[in-house]
Structures are given as C-alpha cells and as structure tokens.
C-alpha cells in the first residue's frame, strides 16, 4: 500500500495523533447513540429536543455540526438517554504502536463487556458442558500473563487486553487437571 504522504502531507499515523481524529470519533459516538435512541424510542429529532428541553437546531448541530459543545451539556444529554458516559483514556503511544503494526485501534466497549462477562465461564466445574467449538474470551492484564494459556490461545488482542481461548477437545481434556490451576491464576490476575 502506498503511503499517502506521497500525495498528501499526512498519513494515518499523523491523523491518529491529531485531536481532530478523537474529537470526530467522540462526536460520532454521540451521533450513533442519539440515532439509536431515537430509533428505539420511535422519536423524531424534534420530539427528542422537546423531551430534553433544547432546541431542534441544537440537536442538529450536535449530530451534524462542528460546534464545540459543553461537557456538562453532553453529560446531561447522555443521562437523558439513560446512558452512563464513561471515559477511557488509553496511552497514545500504544495506540500509535498498534497503527504501525497494522492492528485495530477501534474499541468496541460493548464487546469488551461481553467478553468480560464470559470470563465467568472459566470454571472447571462446568468445563465439561462447553460445546466443543466454544471459544472463550478472557480479559487479562498483559501478554506475559497469556504464557500458561499458549496451547489454547487462538488470538491475542493487546488493544483490548483480551485473549481468546479455544477449547481443543482431546488435548484440553487431558490437561484438565492443570486447567484448574490456570483458572485460579487467571481469576487472580484479572
């Protein structure tokens, strides 16, 4: 793939390092959340504006415009959609590192939550009940901690701090005894 610096004066790494990128993504998250809320509740932008006591143009500006909205207003808006506005700050150097090695920098927080919830399944008591093809994602803190799981690790995503462990029928059954230890260590680490 050709580096865009040959025809533009920036490349993707420059974009990810710019405030414009994160600001646009933040605004897009709000745009997506409002769209989802309107659709789910069968509301028009006008209905929504009335519901939260702002003008319709404010909603339009928020969804499509470039204005720099007040943080307090954005939080108020999230609350009115019954959403808790979490903030996650990730080390920018690590994000750029991921860009350089071609890894994803997008974080789907709902997916991360789903994976964390499935961590509860890491229980050797119900291990026999796993379907043979079941994959299990486990949140962990660092790549070093995946070492005991290497035989089972299908995929490691450092941006998500997650591993996907796949049940390998025969081999894993043989190692079931040691799996209990792995589980204990994992739960301890998490």
């Amino acid at each position: 793939m050709e580096d865009s610096k040959s025809y533009l004066d920036f490349n993707f790494k420059d974009i990810v390092s710019s405030s414009e990128f994160w600001e646009e993504n933040f605004k897009t998250s709000f745009f997506e959340a409002i769209e989802e809320y309107l659709e789910k509740n069968e509301l028009s932008r006008n209905d929504f504006a009335k519901q939260i006591g702002v003008s319709r143009s404010y909603i339009s500006q928020l969804m499509n415009g470039d204005s720099d909205h007040r943080l307090s207003k954005l939080i108020e808006l999230a609350i009115s959609m019954k959403k808790a506005p979490y903030l996650y700050l990730k080390d920018l150097d690590k994000v750029i590192e991921n860009v350089q090695i071609g890894k994803s920098i997008n974080i789907d927080f709902e997916d991360v939550e789903r994976k964390a919830a499935r961590c509860e399944m890491l229980d050797d008591q119900n291990f026999d009940k796993w379907p043979s093809t079941q994959a299990l994602s486990v949140s962990i803190m660092s790549i070093e901690q995946t070492t005991p799981f290497r035989p089972y690790v299908k995929d490691f995503d450092s941006s998500m701090a997650c591993v996907t462990i796949v049940k390998v029928d025969q081999e894993l059954h043989k190692r079931k005894a040691s799996f209990g230890k792995i589980r204990k260590q994992l739960l301890h680490d998490v």
């Binding site: 793939m1 025809y7 004066d9 920036f10 710019s18 745009f31 769209e35 920098i105």
Partner: protein, 134 residues
C-alpha cells in the same frame, strides 16, 4: 473498456468493512482527487480520511449521506464544507471509492458516478470480478 482495479485505502485500517480505492487504467481515483486539491480545500481531506477510517470500523460517519435518485441506490457520499467523495457499496468487496469532487460540481459528478457505476458493474460481470492489487 477501461481496466478497473481495486487497491485498499490507506486510511481504512480496521477490518470490519473493507474500503477500496478504484483505479481506472492504473490511475487511483482517490489519489487523483486528493492530490488536486486547492489550498482552501486541502484541510478538508483530513476530515474525509477520518470518515474513511470510521467506515472501515463499521462506524457511521456524521458526514455520510445516501445519494438520492434512480440507479443510485448503492451510491453514498462523504461530505465536507466544499468537498464530496463518492463511493459504492459493491458486493462482495465492500466499499469502493470511485470519485471525488467539489460541492459546486455535485450534479455533474453524480451523473458521472452513475455512468461509472454502470461501467463497473458491467466490467465485473464480463470479467468475473475486479482484481484487488496491492
């Protein structure tokens, strides 16, 4: 008939949706668009590049629009104050950036997009697909 090929867009780094640039006889349409911008519109290409990344992450860029009109059902645009970037939803590939232009030449560009879309579909049918080149 010209040769149509696809190259992966550099800003589409996520894997959820594939975003390609269309090349016509070896000339990349996105590159041609991006390298011929005026001083006034040069800053706007950054916003478009961010939107391309969002598309590849299966996000919904705020500046994305469906293009209305008969025969344009698979056509979309990314817009900024003065620029428009037109792309197609092309199965099984994903999104294909076909054309870029100025807001002031929208009508002419959309007509060109429609013609181009028909040519691409015909090429795809007669050649069994479009080649993805790196």
């Amino acid at each position: 008939m010209p040769i149509f090929e696809l190259t992966k867009n550099e800003f589409a780094t996520e894997s959820q949706v594939q975003v390609y640039n269309l090349s016509i006889d070896g000339n990349c349409q996105f590159e041609a668009f991006a390298s011929n911008l005026t001083k006034e519109t040069k800053s706007e290409i950054k916003k478009i590049s961010i939107s391309i990344w969002q598309l590849s992450a299966n996000r919904k860029p705020r500046n994305r629009n469906h293009i209305k009109g008969k025969g344009l059902e698979v056509c979309r645009e990314l817009k900024t104050k003065n620029l428009r970037l037109y792309y197609l939803i092309l199965n099984p590939y994903g999104l294909v950036i076909c054309l870029g232009g100025q807001k002031t030449k929208q009508k002419k560009d959309i007509a060109a997009l429609k013609t181009l879309k028909n040519k691409i579909l015909k090429y795809k049918e007669t050649h069994g697909g479009l080649e993805i080149v790196s």
